[in-house]
Symmetry: C2
Subunit: 220 residues, 2 copies
C-alpha cells in the first residue's frame, strides 16, 4: 500500500533485517571507538577511529533508506539492542591485537551474512545492503598489524587463533538467538536460502569464509 507521502512501506522482515544491520553498525562504532583508545600508537588509534567512523557512514545510509519509507531507525533497531550488546559484552577484547582480530573478523562475518541475505530481498534493499557492506578499506591495516604482533610475540598466535574461533562461536550463538526470537526472520531465511539449507546452510557458508579470513591473518 503506497501513500502520497513516499515509497511503499518495506516488508516487515526487511525492516527487521535493516534494524539488525543498523544496530550492528552503531554498536560496532561504539566498540571500535572504545578499542581505539587502547591503541599502542597514535597512528593505530587514528586508523581504528577511522574504521569506527566508517560504520557510522553505513548506519546513516540505512537510516536514510528507512526514513524515506517512514520508518524510524531507532524503532527498527530497538528489538535487537539487548542481544547485540550481549554479543559485545561476551567478546570484549583484552588487548590491541584482540581488538584488531575482532574488528576484522566481525566486519567479515556481518558482510558474509548480509551478502547472502541481499539476494533474497527486494532489489533496492539488496543494492543498499551491498553498498553498506563495502569493505571499509582497513582490512589491509588489520592484517598487517596482526601479522606484526604475532612476529613480535610468537606465543600470541595460538591465543589469537583461539580468540578468533571463540568470536565465531559467540556470533553464531547470538545470531541463532536472534532468529529464534523472530519467527518472520527464521521463515525468511528458510524460504530465501531454499536448497542451500536454511539457517544451517547459512552458518556453513559463514564458517567457511571465516576460516579463509583466519588464514589471511595467519591464525589458521
Amino acid at each position: 500500500m503506497t501513500t502520497d507521502a513516499g515509497p511503499a512501506a518495506p516488508a516487515p522482515v526487511t525492516v527487521e533485517l535493516l534494524g539488525v544491520l543498523a544496530y550492528g553498525e552503531l554498536s560496532a562504532f561504539d566498540r571500535l571507538a572504545e578499542d581505539a583508545r587502547q591503541a599502542p600508537t597514535l597512528a593505530g588509534r587514528a586508523q581504528l577511529s577511522t574504521m569506527a567512523a566508517a560504520e557510522i557512514g553505513h548506519f546513516r545510509v540505512i537510516e536514510e533508506h528507512l526514513a524515506a519509507s517512514g520508518v524510524d531507525v531507532a524503532d527498527a533497531m530497538a528489538p535487537f539492542v539487548a542481544l547485540i550488546d550481549s554479543y559485545h559484552a561476551s567478546t570484549a577484547p583484552r588487548s590491541w591485537p584482540e581488538s584488531l582480530v575482532k574488528a576484522y573478523l566481525g566486519d567479515g562475518l556481518g558482510a558474509d551474512f548480509y551478502r547472502e541475505v541481499a539476494r533474497w530481498v527486494d532489489p533496492a534493499t539488496g543494492e543498499l545492503v551491498q553498498r553498506v557492506l563495502a569493505d571499509t578499506g582497513y582490512s589491509a591495516f588489520a592484517e598487517r598489524e596482526v601479522h606484526a604482533a604475532c612476529e613480535a610475540q610468537p606465543e600470541q598466535r595460538d591465543r589469537l587463533a583461539l580468540w578468533g574461533r571463540r568470536l565465531l562461536g559467540e556470533a553464531v550463538t547470538h545470531a541463532q538467538r536472534v532468529v529464534a526470537e523472530r519467527d518472520e526472520l527464521a521463515e525468511f531465511i528458510v524460504l530465501g536460502s531454499g536448497e542451500s539449507g536454511g539457517v544451517a546452510g547459512l552458518i556453513r557458508t559463514v564458517q567457511s569464509a571465516h576460516g579463509k579470513r583466519m588464514s589471511r591473518l595467519g591464525l589458521s
Copy 2:
C-alpha cells in the same frame, strides 16, 4: 625548499597549528563516542555518534593535507596530546546535557580560534582550515536537546550555565599553556593578530562568541 617528491614543506608553525587541530578532532571523536554511550535514547546516541564520526572526517582532511607535504600527522599531533587530554580529563561530562553542552561549546570554541588563525596562514592551509571547521550540522540538535532538558528540569539551567562558563575557563587555561610551551606559536599569534591584540585579543574574540552560544542554549 621544494623537492620532486611533492609540494613545499609547510612552515613549522603551520604544522604545529594543524597538529593541534588534528589531535583536537581525534580526541573530540573519542570523547563524543564515549559520551554517546550515555545517551538516554537510541536516537540521541546515533546523533552524538554521527557528530563523533564527522570529527574523523575532518581529521582525515588534515591528515591527507599534511601527508601531501611529507608530514606524518602522528608526528604533528604528538606534542599536543598531553595538554589536550588534560583539558578533556578536567571537563569530563557527568550527564547527557553536560555532554551536549560540551560538544556544542567545544566545537564552537575551536571554530572561533581557527577562523581567526586561518587568515594568518598561507591560502591553501587557510582554505583547508575553513573546510574542516564547517558546522558538522548538529548544532540544531544540541540546542533542541539542551532546551528540552532545561524545560523538563528547570534547576538544570543554573548548573549547565556554570558548566558552560567552566568549559570556557578550562579551554582558555589549556590554550594558554599550549602557547606558553611553543614559542613559535606565540610569536605567530602576536604577528598575525597585529593591532587586534595578540593572545589576549584572540581570547576576547573567543569569549564574546562563547557568550552568544550560551544565549542560544538558553544558558546566559
